[in-house]
């Protein structure tokens, strides 16, 4: 189902062609990160810490180096020195420990050998002497002043006065508006809740993989899957201390990222091993390594307090938030503080968010980073407010939803946004009033993501026969090649299948930022449109030459140059490309830009669950998700983003969590014990595309990749509360926890209300 505001009718944009890379992906031909082998290739293996926190007394590699087939062994000492707070310190130390290991799975050495078996044996033979240090494993421990401080160089940023002592809080973000205390005095109903979530993994099916080939002149080619190969180049160069131009990165197909492949783990290790061994080196992570050493999303502890008047107007909000970013600082708390009240027009609020460091893997971005947890808190409290006030939960949100002109958390006004339209789409959906069965409950929640712009480049080459090649620098994670081709087809007026969309390597196309922040179709699409418009200008000039008229008399209509006077027959694009040599040479253009005017995307999700009162198992009965796409370039892949994000959120809400033992060793580093949703866990996800075009984009695109994971946590929790009468505030809502809430009545499901007066 699609709900569309008035916009131009397009010929290609909004259609559903088979994606251009599709046949390769259903026949096994597509080459992902681990699918490439080079002649003479060695196998690299990382040595990882078995301890969550320890000082490295010594690393002895002599035995490993002497083992059969071993060609190179490296440790932190083989990389340029690093200094806290300078450059990419966190990334460099995360990829290769120096004096300390900071979490279980932390890399501390790497070997390259002829075979995988030899590499594994050599890695096991690297002798490390540790002095064990006490690990800090939870947010509460980290904030306890009596706990060890993980980094003696870490002084909390964002507070006044600047702290005199280091701590486990890397930064604090405070946003305020109005007079919060006075606002709460005005409130008729106030509800405050403390909620927690556990770290979860992005769970991409393809483990990290790279092949590095460093030649004798020091030039290195990397084949790897990532969300951004220009970023791989920059980060690899930074860690190795190399000039950027020494490194070429060729993007492999990427088997899922969700934010987790916006940073690097293996590339500089493979490049350095290859340089030392003089042979290509391939490194592929095991699933256990992916869990233990790559980016989970932060765990959180959040207190949200909201006050409303009897008519449902939110008059005050207060949030205290803590995000655990693992062994290093990050921006998680900022993003949490930014998003916690962003969707609602609240006159008075105070938000204080803490970025907390632990002896766990360094967290990485995960789809709308930090927003699912902040929305879990706000949307849970809103659900309770709706009950307390006797107002329909969508009506309550409609009364407070931000619209154009309302202020964002940071003070700037929103441009045209589609939150109200999403709320109305769910309110008017038949699933909102479908009858519920026994033990079933209905939940609704909203979510928001601001999306990002950043830099993109696209080169469009017209071929002799009138077909076109569109080269961009954005790795295609979920069908963006098809979106680029659709926008190019619309601009050039040729068939979408006459366009070949290509992801170019770092030497084949201009700099392009990472495919993240839902930016590829938005920003790289803008670059494609810009290049196509240059091409059309060029085509009109060539046609004018061929017709012998002034270019001002030539219009571009439906893939043909048309003489406005009508005396000359129209020239189709292929007739112009066939004459390219005679009219000035190759027809090619590059669009490169720093995209502006990114448009936020809102979503509202609706879910019915059935809770088994004997086992606590939650079954998802119906799921409906409405999201503002701006304009859906390829609606099937917009629906896919909505359905995929919703399902990830369902997993986050019900099953997924990192489980550590008391020593900080992860106990579930595999898909058997870290349970992501499977096909039998979910129903069809009814995706409702709302189209409120972004005024700043040539086709109204907002970016759709991330918002869909924001609402599900609260949607599920609200549905479980409705089904059981028990409010569960700690995720995941595993059967044990749900059963405990049902049997022991924990989880304050009575919706207890604190009245202001």
């Amino acid at each position: 189902m699609t709900v569309t505001e008035s916009r131009p009718q397009y010929k290609f944009v909004g259609t559903r062609p088979v994606r251009h890379d599709g046949v390769d992906k259903v026949t096994g031909r597509a080459r992902f990160g681990a699918d490439l082998d080079l002649p003479g290739q060695l196998v690299g293996q990382v040595v990882r810490s078995p301890h969550a926190h320890a000082r490295i007394i010594s690393i002895d590699t002599a035995v490993a180096e002497a083992m059969p087939g071993v060609k190179a062994v490296i440790t932190g000492e083989d990389f340029p020195p690093v200094e806290p707070g300078v450059g990419d310190y966190d990334m460099c130390v995360n990829l290769m420990a120096r004096d300390r290991v900071l979490y279980e799975g932390h890399a501390l050495a790497a070997v390259a050998a002829n075979t995988a078996e030899q590499a594994r044996a050599a890695a096991a033979a690297v002798e490390v002497h540790y002095e064990l240090l006490p690990p800090v494993l939870t947010i509460d421990e980290a904030l306890d002043p009596d706990s060890p401080v993980i980094h003696s160089h870490l002084f909390t940023s964002g507070v006044d006065p600047a702290p005199a002592e280091p701590s486990n809080v890397s930064g604090v973000t405070v946003f305020t508006r109005g007079d919060t205390a006075a606002g709460f005095v005005e409130a008729d109903v106030i509800i405050e809740r403390e909620l927690t979530t556990q770290p979860v993994h992005q769970g991409y099916i393809e483990p990290h993989a790279v092949v590095a080939d460093t030649d004798p002149h020091g030039r290195c080619t990397l084949w790897c899957s990532s969300q951004g190969h220009f970023n791989v180049r920059a980060q690899t160069a930074a860690m190795l201390g190399w000039e950027t131009a020494r490194i070429k990165v060729i993007p492999a197909e990427i088997g899922g990222g969700f934010g987790g492949k916006t940073t690097i783990y293996l590339e500089p290790l493979a490049a350095e091993l290859s340089a030392r061994a003089g042979r290509p080196v391939k490194m592929v992570m095991t699933r256990a390594e992916v869990f233990r050493a790559t980016g989970p999303a932060p765990g959180t502890k959040v207190r949200v307090k909201l006050g409303a008047s009897h008519d449902g107007t939110l008059v005050a909000g207060k949030a205290w938030m803590a995000y655990s970013t693992g062994a290093f600082g990050g921006v998680a708390a900022l993003l949490g503080a930014w998003t916690v009240f962003e969707s609602y027009d609240i006159a008075n609020f105070e938000v204080e968010a803490h970025n907390v460091v632990l002896n766990t893997p360094r967290s990485a971005a995960y789809r709308a980073p930090s927003a699912p947890m902040s929305a879990f808190a706000t949307e849970t409290v809103l659900d309770e407010l709706a009950r307390a006030l006797g107002i329909d939960p969508i009506e309550l949100r409609l009364r407070n939803a931000v619209t154009q002109g309302a202020l964002t958390t940071m003070g700037a006004p929103f441009d045209r946004i589609g939150f109200v339209e999403c709320l109305e789409a769910i309110r008017d959906h038949p699933n909102y009033t479908a009858p519920l069965g026994e033990n079933q409950g209905r939940g609704v929640a909203a979510g928001y993501w601001f999306n990002i712009g950043e830099s993109s480049s696209a080169t469009v080459n017209l071929n002799e026969d009138g077909t076109a090649t569109v080269v961009t620098g954005s790795p295609d994670i979920g069908g963006s090649r098809a979106s680029m081709a659709l926008m190019a087809a619309e601009e050039l007026g040729i068939d979408v299948y006459d366009i070949t969309p290509v992801v170019g390597d770092t030497e084949a196309v201009g700099f392009t930022d990472i495919t993240e922040g839902s930016r590829a179709t938005f920003a790289t699409g803008m670059a494609v449109v810009e290049a196509c418009r240059q091409i059309v200008t060029d085509l009109r000039g060539r046609a004018a030459k061929m017709m012998g008229i002034d270019v001002s008399e030539v219009d571009w209509v439906d893939g043909r140059a048309v003489h406005s006077g009508g005396e000359h027959d129209p020239l189709p694009l292929a007739a112009i490309t066939a004459n390219a040599k005679r009219t000035g040479g190759p027809i090619t253009a590059t669009g490169s830009l720093e995209a502006r005017g990114v448009g936020p995307s809102f979503a509202v999700h609706l879910c019915d669950v059935e809770v088994d009162p004997d086992t606590g198992v939650v079954r998802v009965v119906r799921y409906t998700a409405a999201q503002d796409a701006g304009t859906a370039i390829h609606p099937s892949y917009v629906e896919g983003q909505i359905q995929g994000g919703a399902t990830q959120g369902i997993g986050w809400a019900l099953n997924e969590e990192y489980v550590y033992n008391g020593d900080g060793v992860m106990e579930n580093p595999g898909f058997l014990d870290y349970r992501v949703p499977v096909a039998s866990d979910v129903p069809m996800i009814d995706a409702v595309i709302v189209e409120v075009p972004n005024p700043a984009h040539p086709y109204g695109v907002r970016g759709v990749g991330e918002t869909s994971i924001v609402p599900p946590l609260a949607t599920m929790a609200n549905a479980v509360a409705a089904a059981t009468g028990r409010r569960i505030l700690d995720l995941p809502m595993s059967p044990m926890r749900v059963l405990d809430a049902i049997v022991n009545g924990t989880g304050n499901g009575d919706g207890s209300v604190t009245t202001a007066r």
Partner: protein, 82 residues
């Protein structure tokens, strides 16, 4: 060019509690230089990780963006994503 400058509220600790001021500059960078004179330390903060909203458009890296007289400019954090 005189413009109205709005600060994200977390910057208040660097602006003596003010959330908006009048200031002048031909470009965003000019503006920042002037603001740093008034609020020492603010300049570095505004140059790292801060975007602006100008004429309704979010500009993530505003540095040399020209300013029109009477414009309103909002300093906010650069968005990031997954």
């Amino acid at each position: 060019m005189t413009v109205k400058v709005h600060f994200s509220s977390d910057l208040r600790r660097l602006t003596g509690g003010l959330t908006s001021v009048e200031a002048s500059g031909a470009t965003v960078e000019d503006l920042i230089v002037g603001l740093d004179g008034r609020f020492p330390g603010l300049g570095d903060r505004l140059r790292t990780g801060m975007a602006v909203v100008l004429n309704g458009e979010l500009i993530a890296h505003p540095g040399y963006e020209p300013l029109d007289d009477g414009a309103e400019i909002y300093f906010m954090h650069q968005p990031s994503g997954g």
